[in-house]
């Protein structure tokens, strides 16, 4: 039996094949446990369970407040397991225990809480203007799509599971979720929460396994009504293609290469913190990371010194230590990707002014090859590969500019448009710069502040649709227009005028 089993139709189970894969702590390469490895048949089984739960079960027929009460129970149960969940999240994915404790677990609870509020407050029916002839009452009825699948990435496995599950089930849908293979544990542990919250079987199903089979099935299966994905742009493109077979709506939150603009009137001390947090939080393994710092030339040297000084003081090491700023990357492969880009940067830009290698002096047992130091390249041309391609690691490109207009143009010179920042002491000026940025979220004098109440998503090749906010809730609802003619006499019907009077 696997240590971490699939969750299908309200029960934990092994994969039909009995196969498992080993999930390990990237800090040490030591095994944490065996995870059931689903194949296509398990994915189909999960989709069929969700289909039954939607077509025959009570969940879509419950009222919004009734579903909200279940979601609030989920919030409470996550809270009761918070410490264990945070530790597993950090151990499995390499993110710090600090991040898991202040962001991942409470952020997930907030998502369930917010969508519980949506289920209570967002109207299921909205009256529309009628018409004098033919006389009619009109309204829009908001209804769940049906079976919604979600494919989630490895960087925020627990919170991403919440972002996919909570809006879907709050709106009355049923779901099948596939966590990333590197980081399946915390999402699979959610099954226990749903059991204890007494959700009907099949409302939430969680299957871990390869994207090439399980992910493909969840996007293409004709019993699925909607699919949502967070991850790479190229996979998003593939999911759109697979979903097109049965014309499923898709929500995609994809890559980014976001710009954090430091104007010449910024408080440089605060701005440096915003740039460092914006870039190096979770090792830069965050879609909206501000990995291009655009800095006004008049403050460039002073600001760069601040960045280099502070980046050098960041603590790289054991992710289970609350004093650690940067733990290991998610995998050896990810560290090698970063190594490749730093080599490209050395060729194109020159030696980094900070970092640029594996850390030294790590505690015994930690595998240095899986870590990378915070790295800063200065004087980068925005056309450079390291400024255009998403590295998904702790690598910052610092780019000088002379005018606000030039900063906006550089920020927008990217195939992406997911996040961004403006650091300035002049609110109106910052607001004007933010308005020019073609991106889904801009933080003024801040970074990474995401909340369930506020929509999140991308422009350009950073995605389609929005998660969170009321937009994120309504993405999981269909709008059905009802036109009701009071009937009574032939004079009330337009078709007697439009067609032959003899019909």
């Amino acid at each position: 039996m696997a240590d971490f089993q699939l969750f299908i139709d309200g029960e934990y189970c092994d994969a039909a094949s009995g196969e498992t894969f080993t999930t390990s702590d990237p800090a040490t390469n030591e095994a944490i446990g065996e995870v059931a490895k689903a194949d296509r048949s398990d994915a189909v089984r999960a989709v069929e369970a969700a289909r039954r739960a939607f077509d025959e079960g009570p969940w879509p027929r419950m009222t919004g407040p009734e579903r909200a009460a279940k979601l609030r129970k989920v919030v409470e149960l996550i809270g009761s397991k918070a410490e264990k969940l945070a530790e597993m999240e950090a151990r499995d994915g390499g993110g710090t225990i600090k991040k898991a404790t202040f962001a991942d677990i409470p952020g997930s609870q907030s998502a369930f809480e917010w969508f519980a509020r949506c289920a209570e407050d967002e109207a299921d029916e909205v009256e529309l203007p009628g018409s004098p002839f033919p006389p009619s009452q009109n309204w829009v009825s908001y209804e769940p799509h049906g079976v919604c699948t979600g494919i989630i990435p490895w960087n925020f496995p627990f919170i991403m599971a919440a972002w996919k599950i909570a809006p879907a089930i709050a709106a009355g849908n049923t779901t099948v979720i596939k966590p990333a293979s590197y980081t399946s544990i915390s999402a699979l542990m959610l099954g226990e929460v749903f059991q204890e919250a007494d959700l009907p079987p099949g409302v939430v199903n969680i299957v871990a396994g390869p994207g090439g089979t399980v992910g493909e099935e969840l996007a293409a299966n004709p019993l699925v009504d909607k699919t949502a994905f967070t991850g790479s742009t190229e996979v998003g493109r593939r999911i759109m293609q697979l979903a097109s077979g049965t014309v499923k709506p898709v929500t995609l939150e994809l890559g980014g290469k976001s710009a954090n603009i430091v104007l010449d009137d910024a408080d440089l001390d605060l701005a440096a913190a915003a740039v460092l947090f914006g870039t190096f939080f979770h090792n830069g393994q965050v879609c909206e990371s501000g990995t291009r710092a655009l800095v006004h030339r008049s403050v460039y040297d002073e600001f760069l010194s601040l960045l280099v000084d502070r980046a050098g003081k960041m603590v790289v090491g054991n992710q289970l230590d609350f004093n650690t700023d940067l733990g290991p990357l998610v995998s050896r492969g990810q560290a090698e990707t970063i190594e490749r880009y730093v080599a490209l940067g050395r060729d194109e830009v020159g030696e980094p002014v900070c970092g640029g290698g594996r850390p030294e002096g790590l505690a015994e047992g930690l595998v240095a090859e899986n870590f990378y130091t915070p790295t800063i390249f200065a004087g980068v041309d925005n056309k450079a590969k390291i400024a255009q391609e998403e590295i998904f690691g702790p690598v910052l490109c610092v780019i000088p500019f002379d005018t606000d207009e030039e900063a906006v143009a550089i920020a927008n010179d990217s195939i992406y448009g997911l996040g961004g920042g403006v650091q300035s002491s002049n609110f109106e000026r910052a607001r004007k710069v933010a308005a020019g940025m073609r991106t889904g979220t801009v933080w003024i004098n801040d970074y990474h502040m995401i909340s369930p109440e506020r929509p999140f998503g991308g422009y350009k090749q950073s995605g389609i649709g929005r998660e969170l906010g009321t937009q994120g809730y309504n993405a999981y609802r269909q709008a059905k227009h009802i036109h009701a003619n009071p009937g009574g006499t032939r004079d009330n019907y337009m078709h007697f005028s439009a067609l032959s009077p003899n019909i």
């Binding site: 952020g107 994207g211 996979v235 890559g255 609350f322």
Partner: protein, 144 residues
């Protein structure tokens, strides 16, 4: 842009050809968790800005215009294999491996160990403990 493939990458694509009945395509794409990476798909529709930049095991490799611009002329990348299960919907994830890009100077015949992940040892009997506690300032600033 010039694409080469290691013998390991060729072997993975050959294996995929035995598992899938549709036409295979490799597309080099980008973004988020994958960074820039190769993706092996069945019956894929290349986008309007994608052009063929090479071939691996008889399967055409496509890349979008903006990436081709970043790797002008003969500037190359090497398709290789990482012996870790990877993410994405790429077909080879089914085999527990992931196609990856290496720099043009990568020579898999001289660096065979680079892709090998050591077999993990179990920590079940001696898990590392959490050290310290949450900073007070962060306790009141839980991310919402």
């Amino acid at each position: 842009m010039r694409v080469r493939a290691t013998s390991r990458a060729v072997a993975v694509v050959e294996r995929a050809k035995l598992h899938r009945s549709g036409g295979l395509t490799v597309t080099i794409g980008t973004g988020c968790c994958e960074s820039t990476a190769p993706f092996l798909y069945e019956d894929f529709w290349p986008g309007p800005d994608q052009e063929a930049v090479g071939e691996v095991a008889g399967v055409t490799v496509f890349a979008p215009e903006y990436l081709r611009r970043s790797y002008p002329g003969d500037e190359g990348v090497v398709l290789d294999v990482n012996e870790e299960f990877g993410e994405s919907l790429s077909i080879e994830t089914e085999f527990g491996v992931r196609l990856v890009l290496r720099g043009a100077d990568f020579d898999s015949t001289t660096e065979p160990e680079r892709c090998v992940v050591p077999a993990p040892a179990s920590t079940a009997d001696r898990p590392r403990a959490v050290v310290g506690e949450m900073p007070e300032a962060l306790r009141r600033a839980h991310m919402r």
